[in-house]
Symmetry: none
Subunit: 184 residues, 4 copies
DNA sequence: TATGAATGAGCTTTCATTCAT
DNA sequence: GATGAATGAAAGCTCATTCAT
């Protein structure tokens, strides 16, 4: 039943958007009575939080996997980006809800999510051991924002540029940064 | 009167946030009656749209200026980024509303805004005439997303990195990209 | 409109009882929309509070008058009691709501009301100057409770005793007390 | 099981008050399922009614005993009042529920209770055989209301008067009434 | 033109009660 | 008998919008 509610919540979220998701709509979609929602969740926010938490957890898993599986690949940057795009394209609907409809500061999980990705990239950088990039955390912070915005932007507001070009250019951007001499 | 309403709307937006901005609060702030709002605007959304459009227009001006004034500077990338940060820091309140509270798809002007910046960067790239960066529109698109997310992120969620380092690293990122050989 | 709402609230209170008085019923009775209630009152409780406050104020006036007008009458105790019964019988409906349906501690005005009557009786006792009743406040406290319960009881749960007998006996009770030697 | 439910109902009534007593809380307290309540009681009201009926029965017993045990005491009025206060103070929690939280007309047993006390006092009066008090039922009715309100008031809203004084004055009130000449 | 009182659909939440197991 | 998940009517309240003045 929890699953039924979450599935209905997810559905309504996708169809109606965050603002227009109401408990009664969720109940109708789940084909249960409004009262039943409150046997499993303390309030409406808890339902949506969990829908989004699940998505974020799943996405985090996929992204972690994208990083880890490609760490040692030839052309690891390019293949990681490709895997990242796959991960984001996996559920573009919820990705859109998170990025376009959710009040950005709504769920503390968002910040946590970004922080974990930060760590992941930091680790990846350290692992690659390219000595040129000195302030590792700063580099990680900038790379995370860059990769996030370019890949998410590609998925949600597809530009008139084909996928391969985006991957090419983003790869070049990152490679250029990693190779560049640390002191200008 | 339109000005009065917009000023009131802006005020309420800053103080209460997007979600908690109600027509009655705007009317009170503007010292007019709620009914009068509807003589000048079709609905609440139109008021907020215009408040935000104005902000976006102003920001666009500032950003254009940041680009144009620094096109020929020595170290033009670095100085443009600095000017860009200045522009964004100029009204962090509304920047935050736009980025953290606004349902992203609320105003179609947002997309338009980004498109215009795209053009600007494209022009800048062409002007610089660095031949290495071949698919100019793709390069512009990626650079816009990168610069936007890094600078806005710096202003709204200040990382534990000082301003100079952010400028340094972002400059290096962009320079590295521009210098990199176009064909890998 | 405030009057209309209060009148409707009073009506519903009388017909349905305190517990079953709902905002929607008040709105229907007042022939206005539920939202309009909230232009004039902050919440449901405020409406009922004011209905009851008005009744209590009016009752207090009547009771004060009953005391004051009869202070110097021949047989002042008896005539005061008669006037008191008149006052209570004036709006037995709301009296019943106050005594039978209102959670006793609901409105702080109740306690205040009783306190003011306490003072009134104390004053009356002092004025009569019967020296026999020594601990004046204690005497007042006991007399207030006695008179209140007997008169209210007569109005709300009419016993098989005629009005005159009740007045006779209550008068005798009070007179006997006032005359009795202070030290037994 | 009935006992378990009643005990739980009593507990919840004391801790949460009449309004906030819900069937689910009773079920939890009784460590049974909400459905089981309806095997033994037709509805929620019936449970609370019975809890209160039991209290009223027990109180009636105690009061009867207070009267009977003191009928032939020296100073029987005073000692009866003392015993009465003891009885009421025995379970001030439920007394408060009955007097302060219960919609007065909730249980018809309340009226019945008062009627039985009426009878008791009538009998006591007849037994005492003081000939002066003529309309016995009227006298009983008035005395019951008086004694009830003074003693209950003392227990539930303790006035700034010590117990002894209250007993003194109430005794004096009653004695004065009983001694007073029947025809004024 | 300006008003602002009035609207009413819509919201989230509660809880006494039922009934298939 | 006992369960407890499911119910759903009803509650109090909000606020963007309208329209008679």
């Amino acid at each position: 039943m929890v699953e039924r509610i979450l599935a209905a919540g997810r559905e309504v979220l996708l169809v109606r958007g965050y603002e227009r998701t109401s408990t009664s709509r969720i109940a109708v979609k789940a084909a249960i009575s409004p009262g039943s929602l409150y046997q499993y969740f303390p309030d409406k926010e808890a339902i949506l939080d969990q829908v989004l938490d699940r998505y974020v957890d799943q996405l985090h898993l996929r992204i972690t996997d994208a990083f880890v599986s490609n760490l040692e690949a030839t052309d690891s940057v390019r293949s990681t980006i490709g895997a990242l795009l796959d991960a984001l394209e996996g559920d573009a609907g919820l990705l859109r809800v998170v990025y376009e409809q959710l009040p950005r500061n709504a769920s503390p999980q968002r910040a946590e999510f970004v922080r974990r990705i930060d760590d992941l990239v930091t680790t990846a950088l350290l692992f690659q051991g390219r000595p040129a990039v000195r302030p590792v955390r700063a580099a990680a912070w900038i790379l995370v924002r860059t990769i996030e915005s370019v890949t998410v932007g590609y998925v949600l507001d597809p530009p008139p540029i084909d996928r391969e070009s985006v991957i090419d250019e983003l790869t070049r951007l990152i490679e250029g940064y990693l190779i560049a001499p640390s002191a200008t």
